[in-house]
Amino acid sequence: MKEEIIFSGFGGQGIMFMGKAIAYAAMNEGKYVTWIPSYGAEVRGGTAHSMVVISDEPIASPMVKEPTICVAMNGPSLRKYEAKVKTNGLLIVNKSIADTEAERKDIEVLNIPVTALATEAGDYRIGNMAALGALVGRRKIIDVESLINGLKDIVSSAYHSLLPINEKAIRKGFEYGSR
């Protein structure tokens, strides 16, 4: 098994965190994992992305040029990455944003009402967690419980009070994705 994932979106959407969370969970499952955040100046205001590779074998390159899975959290990232997704790959699209119509037919496109799911979970701003849940729901690359259990280790303790609603958002997304 080898999945190459790109998360992408606006600077404030928690893009880095999505990558970190899934990478960490996979690592705990004993998989080979690499995670590359887009760092520094790139992140300001503009488009941020992070790359995760999860594999059963040692990983040669942590760079993802043609992802097997891509999560596009806004319009610009959709336009940037849609064409790069591998045939039969999965493209997850944030449907709470205008101008996000995926066009390719040779890949699986999963449109998610990210904000709605997050709002149901308790905070309209944690759409990233819902999307992440959906990803794991659709392609079971890791156990959703690993994902949830891992959160507390990577979220600084000051924010541990927010873990429950994050978990809720993940589960909402998971459900949505598993359908």
Partner: protein, 245 residues
């Protein structure tokens, strides 16, 4: 329908890469308003620092060069001495001016170079991820002071205007803030004076601008401006430190 407020000519119509609520955008704009009002856009050469404002050239509609981290005053000196009738200004962050560029700013000031420096003090290294800056206040948490800045380990906050005012080459040093519309208007006036001084050939002028970096102050944009106007301004008095023009 009359236009009460519009984009200055010296400003390009671009979406900046700055975070929501970042002060750089405001400072950029008030510089451009000054440039327009003094009519100096066509003889202006700006110097962008290494810092979050590194690509200011994408937003400013006049000649702009980059300078290596901290070397803005040296580059400005080279330009101004070569073209004494052009207007030359440097834009610097607190890491750029107050840390790595300490020697350059002190000596440009001490030589009394006829240039204008706009110094954006946001108390952190924005571009590199929010590390401690020389200007970080005691107890402030940053990426390299996770328990808050502590004097024994990290030294005192550096007061740039206080320090530079001692130098005879400095004709004008003022600290302003941009935490509120009123403060922004005052900041605009200071910046205008700093440019006017150069136009009149008076010497070295610097305006220090207390500016929010919500991202690495760890505050919402709204809380960030409140903190800047409150606690920060207490530590860094907002006033004219020197004016011998």
């Amino acid at each position: 329908m009359d236009n009460i407020f519009e984009k200055p000519e010296s400003m390009k119509d671009a979406i900046t890469h700055y975070c929501p609520g970042c002060g750089h955008g405001i400072v950029h704009r008030i510089i451009c308003e000054t440039v327009d009002s003094l009519g100096i856009r066509e003889k202006l050469i700006g110097i962008a620092p290494v810092g979050c404002a590194v690509i200011a050239y994408d937003y400013w509609n006049f000649d702009v060069t980059e300078a290596a981290h901290g070397r803005v005053p040296a580059v400005a000196t080279g330009i101004k001495r070569s073209l004494p009738d052009r207007i030359v200004f440097g834009y610097q962050g607190d890491g750029d001016l107050g840390a790595i560029g300490t020697a350059e700013i002190i000596h440009a000031a001490n030589r009394g170079e006829n240039i204008t420096i706009i110094f954006v003090n946001n108390t952190v290294y924005g571009m590199t991820g929010g590390q401690m800056a020389p200007t970080t206040v005691l107890k402030q948490k940053t990426a390299t002071t996770s328990a808050g800045r502590e004097q024994k380990m990290h030294g005192f906050p550096l007061k740039v205007c206080e320090l530079l005012s001692v130098l005879p080459g400095v004709v004008y040093a003022e600290r302003v803030s941009i935490h509120s519309p009123q403060a922004v208007i005052k900041a605009g006036k200071a910046i205008k004076k700093a440019f006017e001084n150069q136009v009149k050939g008076m010497g070295f002028s610097i305006v220090e601008v207390l500016s929010p970096c919500p991202t690495y102050m760890g505050l919402s944009p709204q809380d960030a401006v409140k903190w800047v106007g409150g606690e920060l301004a207490k530590e860094y008095p907002i006033k004219i430190f020197k004016d011998i023009t």
